[in-house]
């Protein structure tokens, strides 16, 4: 298991979702991905993408001017 980061700041949806999807396709079950975003739409869209693909949303929180979303990769 390893932890990875993705910078999706200053990108508008659905680009952060697409970058998350593409990054996760390179990772293994059990890996953690931390995504940094600024578009508030990511608070809805990335968790929704996780739900339809069967990955676990560990947390999604707003920290000052950015949104930090942590995902655990499952064998989806």
């Amino acid at each position: 298991m390893s932890q990875h980061e993705l910078n999706a700041r200053n990108l508008l949806c659905p680009i952060p979702v697409i970058r998350t999807q593409n990054k996760i396709s390179e990772l293994s079950p059990g890996d953690l991905l931390v995504v940094y975003c600024t578009d508030p739409g990511t608070l809805h869209d990335i968790p929704a993408w996780c739900r339809v693909h069967g990955h676990t949303l560990v947390s999604a929180e707003e920290q000052s001017d950015e949104i930090v979303i942590t995902i655990e990769v499952n064998d989806a």
């Binding site: 949806c13 659905p14 680009i15 697409i18 809805h44 739900r51 339809v52």
Partner: protein, 349 residues
């Protein structure tokens, strides 16, 4: 043992593709969704940018639909490759700069390639004969199937009974008599089917899901091409056409004047790529200058920006003009241009 057949559905986020998918799921086919991002998608962008829209729900309709249907959704960025569709549509444009028929052919072609790469059997769309003047006509349906090279593996469940039998129907993977015969612009059959399938909620994107069908947006894109003397664009160009007032006093430059705080914040990210100016003596908008303005042009731009500042009625407004981001600004003092002196034809809308 019968092989589990698999289909991929073009999901736009609207009702028709949702119904088409559900109809095929009900026949026992495994369905996954696919959604292509062209850069011109209306979805979410303006809400994300404009502060006054911040209270609007910012969910992605395609993902929402996928979740309601219980299917996976693959979102694919085709914004770079899509330029060729916008710039050179073989079948021409619709009412504005919307290359709907070429777009549909391209998306079906990509979905079919995805099917072959992922061992899926056929493609579903929510098209309805006669619903759209450019792409959804009885004559264009075979063109899409032929030019995308998918041929008889393209199923339109909502109007299949008006069309030639497809391979999935002939092979018995799906039953033709459980498909539909919708046609035309009347939406009542879709609403009735939604009720029958237990679908109570769906999104209704105002003006469609593509900025290219919007007259004002298309004018701005055409203006960009005219000013540059060539038909080309970068993805950043088409993002900026979605924000601000666009004012072109001359062919060599235009102003993009932010209209509110959300746009101001969004446009700040573009400062390294443009000459820009903003009032300092009064509150007012960040303005990006696209093109190659002279010193005289920048003074004119400053007078226009002053007109949109809180100092519009003042004798003088002070602004800072930055030719190169992170370099010293030039300070200018100008008399705001009266609103009536800005010719209507300078506004691109």
């Amino acid at each position: 043992m019968t092989k589990q057949r698999k289909a991929v559905s073009l999901i736009s986020g609207g009702l028709d593709s949702m119904l088409a998918t559900k109809v095929i799921q009900e026949q026992g086919v495994h369905v996954e969704g696919i959604n292509f991002y062209t850069g011109f998608c209306v979805e979410g962008h303006t809400h994300a940018i404009r502060k006054k829209d911040k209270e609007k729900q910012k969910k992605n309709s395609s993902l929402w639909v996928a979740e309601q249907l219980g299917i996976k959704l693959h979102i694919i960025d085709i914004s770079e490759e899509y330029k060729d569709i916008v710039l050179n549509p073989k079948h021409g444009y619709g009412q504005n700069l919307n290359p709907c028929l070429d777009c549909k052919i391209d998306m079906v072609s990509r979905a079919w390639q995805w099917c072959q790469d992922n061992d899926f059997d056929f493609v579903i769309t929510g098209e309805v004969v006669g619903q759209r003047p450019k792409s959804q006509r009885k004559e264009t349906m075979p063109i899409i199937a032929r030019e995308s090279q998918i041929e008889d593996r393209l199923v339109r469940p909502l109007c299949a009974q008006h069309l030639t039998e497809t391979l999935p129907e002939r092979e018995g993977w799906i039953k033709r008599d459980e498909l539909y015969d919708f046609h035309g612009r009347n939406r009542k059959p879709q609403f009735a089917l939604a009720k029958k399938l237990g679908i109570e909620e769906w999104s209704q994107p105002a003006g469609g899901c593509c900025f290219l069908t919007d007259a004002s947006y298309s004018k701005k894109l055409q203006d960009l091409w005219d000013a540059r003397g060539e038909r080309r664009y970068e993805v950043d160009d088409i993002m900026l056409l979605k924000v601000g007032r666009h004012i072109r006093p001359a062919k060599n430059f235009k102003l993009i004047v932010s209209r509110e705080e959300g746009e101001n914040n969004f446009m700040r990210g573009y400062r390294p790529q443009f000459t820009y100016l903003y009032p300092t003596s009064h509150g007012g908008p960040l303005t990006l200058i696209d093109g190659t303005p002279t010193e005289e042009d920048l003074e004119l731009a400053a007078r226009i920006v002053a007109r949109f500042s809180q100092g519009r009625d003042a004798e003088k407004v002070t602004l800072e003009v930055v030719r190169e981001h992170n370099q010293p600004a030039q300070v200018v003092h100008v008399k705001p241009m009266p609103a009536e002196e800005i010719p209507e034809e300078w506004y691109i809308h």
